[in-house]
Symmetry: C2
Subunit: 502 residues, 2 copies
Amino acid sequence: MSKNAKKTAIRITRAEDFPAWYQEVIKEADMAENSGVRGCMVIKPWGYGIWERLQRRLDQRIRETGHENCYFPIFIPLELIEKEATHVEGFAKEMAVVTHHRLVEKDGKLEPAGKLESPLVIRPTSEAMIGESFARWIRSYRDLPVKINQWANVVRWEMRPRMFLRTSEFLWQEGHTAHATEAEARIETETMLEVYRQLAEEWLSIPVIPGEKSESERFPGAVETHTIEAIMQDGKALQAGTSHFLGQNFAKAANIKYQAKDGSEEFVYTTSWGVSTRMIGALIMTHGDDDGLRVPPTVAPHQIVILPIARDEETAGVVNPAAAELAKRLNAENVFGEAVRAHVDSRDINTGEKRWGWIKKGVPLIVELGPKDLEKGSVMVTRRTDIYAKAPEDTDVFVGAAPEHLEAIQRKLFDDAASLRDARLETGISDFAAFKEYFDTEDASKLGFVRAKWCGDASSEEQLKKLSVTIRCLPYDQDGKEGVCVITGKPATVDAIFAKAY
Amino acid sequence: MSKNAKKTAIRITRAEDFPAWYQEVIKEADMAENSGVRGCMVIKPWGYGIWERLQRRLDQRIRETGHENCYFPIFIPLELIEKEATHVEGFAKEMAVVTHHRLVEKDGKLEPAGKLESPLVIRPTSEAMIGESFARWIRSYRDLPVKINQWANVVRWEMRPRMFLRTSEFLWQEGHTAHATEAEARIETETMLEVYRQLAEEWLSIPVIPGEKSESERFPGAVETHTIEAIMQDGKALQAGTSHFLGQNFAKAANIKYQAKDGSEEFVYTTSWGVSTRMIGALIMTHGDDDGLRVPPTVAPHQIVILPIARDEETAGVVNPAAAELAKRLNAENVFGEAVRAHVDSRDINTGEKRWGWIKKGVPLIVELGPKDLEKGSVMVTRRTDIYAKAPEDTDVFVGAAPEHLEAIQRKLFDDAASLRDARLETGISDFAAFKEYFDTEDASKLGFVRAKWCGDASSEEQLKKLSVTIRCLPYDQDGKEGVCVITGKPATVDAIFAKAY
């Protein structure tokens, strides 16, 4: 077999067709599938298990930063959502609307009945509902700050859905806080973006660029939107989490006031921030390869899968208990502050098929255990980050070193992704001709982020639209040096990150 | 103050007006509140925190019994829900229907636009959606059993909503399984009801009676519905969890077939089972008293609250760090398989107000710590199960004994509830006149469960309706003896539990 014809487990490679490869990985790793409802997916155990582990970590960080979980209604009355003009404009085109509350049979068909006096929209986000609650809860400076979070489903009607990236219903957390001062609300906005940066980089091995959005890319109703931007393997950007400083916009819309120490009445300052199941899409497009998914050990539902190999029942009687015992020993080890998660796959199908199944699902470590391995006191180990280097290891040594193996894989995934980000971060472009040429490429392997000066003119963003390029963010690490805008040629001091994006 | 005039923290007592008391407890314990959307509540941190701890335990048990979590769309196409006739009939009157996917402004008002070709209902339960997935997933006996669970919000339009008990939107878990054989599906149904019984009795200290529902009380589309029935302090029953054996009804409706070992095509047998935020209502009405909520330590967001007492800043400088240190020592202890949850309340309000606030919230242990206590090396301890017996305890002894204190409170709550259940379980009624008299009472303190023989005639249930009484279940512990039906007087061998119910 020639090198170029190397067979891959995913039949479409990233180089051949990145979007098709993405769908194939989701299918082959059995993470999710399209449902009968347009734009809505079924998240299957492997995909949902990754989400749950991401969720558990983020939930812990949200608590540690002083927030409490609540739950608000899924329905928003029209009167409420109307209050903040920019907000409703931003979401009006994608809101699912409930107009009836029962069904009746007519000519053998069901149809809606019980028309509501006033329609209800399904939350695209909960600012409107939570603003109403804040207005009830907050009376005095003593009630502040209010810092809450909710894990929920939200609906934004998608005309062009893509699993995990854009679905009509998605899962997320949305944090909402109210503060007495602008300074405190700004610190909150930054703190939560930093929590997201850590989640992406330290927990999901996804390197990101943190920064502020330009005006046209802000959340509807926000004063400032802060973001973490990740680079996918096709050179496109993916916004992986956002934190909004809402100023007093929503406080004024919902009339959220407090009595200050001096007796005066003031509007609060609010923030909101969210991360969604979109992060799973980022994870796939950051870590996946032509053999399927690669899951960071921190969020892998199984970190280690043990495959007992037995051709007959007699051997199975020896190998299966040994596999169970090995899993037990591994599960007694700790890594990333939790017990190791080892799983025995004793399904009645051949080992090769099983092994490739788990490789496609991206399990960090696959361990084969047959009668000969047992005799030698060793196991055959495959690291997902190096699937062609299957090698025997002494069982006791392997058990003790399992946490280090997993940590090494976690680091390797980050390093691989960071190399890609560095290779695809173009900082040498300073005029529009070169800029245009860069983004005109048909070759995904040459695409990436351009970091260059930007003058801040709204008109310059119009130019970008024609290239399907957007300003991803104004990164935090500004050099402040004078230069010229890469689009307009005007004097500019601000650095911006430009990219095509999901 | 005379004994009869003893002041209670909840202004309406259980004896005075049980439903009003219930609403007051929810308000005073700050668990939830009505939202601007009719029938939908906002679950506040104290209420949601209890739910999260219930959820964590149940999730663990669901995994231990071999199920995996997934997520299915919130929307169900009409064509799908139409398939199982009994099922759709059962839910048609309470389904929220989405008919449009955007809003437009007209004469300064928003109105629905983008009419959907076919309306979508918001899931009242997910049998229809999951059935469709099962039909895709299941091909061969090798794919069985499929055992999944989802944590989700569901909507059943409520005309007479009550917080936690009947809300238009509620949170729950719904388990769904498919099996090759009837026997296996029946075992699954029973296993999950037993998981629910343990959750209620061992985790929430709520004694229940497990049994099977009579035909008229079955889940729409089920062959059998199994239930755990709890008794509230007003003598009414509350169905706290159900597990359904669905036979092949949904398999036939959704065409879920598998190829058996012998090559034949067979329909699977399915089950479903659920527990919802209604359980929080059961918890309040089982454990609450005239001073507010009492939370079982297993699910209390804070198990111990420490109140530092300091009248001036200098004292605060000594007492606050001591309180923090005490919390740290307590949190290093373990109880119910987890770390103890102690919290310091250093808000700037007076200690009496704080103490009563936590009593109303039902915190199991309240600890006051002032400068004099510090000198003596002791703390002042209030047990929620005995709030008038505040007493000093040596600090070191208290820390070491905290887990035992919490375990004792957990037991006490169960014992109190079990005493009530025993006192309110009437087994001496055998004719309809006495039965009618029993349920005719206006005195809630005399109401409860009647256990008596039942002939099984559907017409007898019509008689019950007039008394607002239902058959709660046919309990598992049948004696099989011959007797006469308490309603019809016909010969009967089956024992039934009769009660008024939530």
